[in-house]
């Protein structure tokens, strides 16, 4: 088995930037990733990335992909990292397909949609349960749907569904909505939305497809008939495999200004880390920084 200088986990903006910098530094490396683009692909419109006044997430990602292809980077796609270990100076990365060895590692695995973890959620995923209103909203024409969450992404889902669905229930388990005022104003102007605060969703019900949800409010349980449930309760870092790497209470990998983690040789970049701002342009910059730190680290060895 060959020993790489660097393995990059993830191919969102952070991973791709890290890879381009690594290719230009002639570092011997591979990228391991489940998909290309990550969360950035889900951005309908990107208007704050340099060089593009307006571009869709998908188009921006395909530009990134073109850029990475120019350098003949070896990308192991559709591959999920299960475990990382460090033995002496060697980092071992175990995936669902293979085992790889490297001197350094950049974790740029990003974030994923948070799940409610209630009965029915897994069973009815893609059978009425969706984590992407942008993708699936048009399938719910004339139907009653529920949007779970109270932040910007939940309000955005409501806006996307407003003209398609018959009735929308917007449900949050706390006493207020956290979305920006401008989003709240837009949603309150819609007349087929019913907003339920202090309401817990206990279960997603259905047969072959979703046909309702069981909710609890004011200590009373009731069933609402909906055929779609859009879950928009935020994101979770993909850091579960990084056992032994220090994380904050949200599961984000703690890094210093050089993108170093607590383990020598293991670096991290982008949305999976504790950097404050989760933005495409920032993730890309962090990816570049991480590779420059790796380069410095390898040169000293």
């Amino acid at each position: 088995m060959s020993l790489y200088d660097l393995i990059i986990i993830g191919a969102g903006p952070a991973g791709i930037a890290a890879a381009i910098y690594a290719a230009r530094k002639r570092i011997d490396f591979i990228v391991i990733t489940e998909d290309i683009g990550g969360q950035a692909a889900y951005s309908a419109n990107v208007e704050n990335y340099l060089g593009y006044q307006f571009i869709s997430g998908v188009d921006l990602i395909s530009k990134f992909e073109e850029h990475i292809k120019k350098y003949n980077v070896e990308v192991k796609e559709n591959e999920k990292v299960i475990e990382i270990n460090k033995e002496k100076d060697i980092i071992i990365v175990k995936t669902n397909k293979d085992i790889y060895k490297s001197k350094t590692l950049i974790i740029a695995s990003g974030k994923r949609s948070k799940e409610l973890r209630i009965p029915g959620e897994k069973e009815f995923k893609n059978k009425g349960v969706s984590y992407c209103a942008t993708c699936d909203a048009p399938l719910f024409e004339g139907k009653n749907v529920a949007v779970i969450g109270g932040g910007n992404s939940a309000f955005d889902a409501v806006l996307q569904l407003a003209k398609i669905a018959n009735k929308i229930y917007l449900i949050t388990n706390i006493s207020y909505f956290t979305a920006d005022a401008i989003m709240q104003e837009k949603v309150s102007a819609i007349n087929n939305v019913s907003m339920l605060k202090n309401t817990q969703v206990l279960e997603i019900l259905g047969d072959r497809l979703v046909n309702g949800i069981k909710i609890k409010r004011e200590n009373r349980e009731e069933v609402i008939n909906v055929e779609g449930v859009f879950i928009e309760i935020g994101l979770l870092p993909n850091s579960d495999f990084a056992v032994g790497v220090d994380k904050n209470k949200n599961g984000e990998i703690i890094i210093n200004s050089k993108n170093e983690t607590n383990i020598e040789g293991i670096f991290a970049a982008g949305d999976v880390t504790n950097i404050r701002d989760k933005q495409i342009i920032i993730a890309a910059g962090e990816g570049a920084k991480a590779t420059l730190s790796v380069f410095e680290y390898l040169s000293k060895k």
Binding site: V58, T134, D136, P138, L139, E141
Partner: protein, 78 residues
Amino acid sequence: MNRSIKVYSTPTCPYCMMAKKFLKDNNIEFEDIDVSSNRQAAMDMVQKTGQMGVPVIEIDGQFIIGFDKERIKELLEL
């Protein structure tokens, strides 16, 4: 070889766009079925696959849920 390839998609879904781009890049002809404007097709898709999510890719009667590049490659022998 003449193959029947359909992509059930919506205009706004990122992974639908990626799937279509992938097929185009590999010179694979396919029928793009926009389930947001074609209700009958949407109902057919749900009926045949039990799925309320896009993309769904149909290759010679076999359904692939989501943009599963490996499975597409396998079925198309790419």
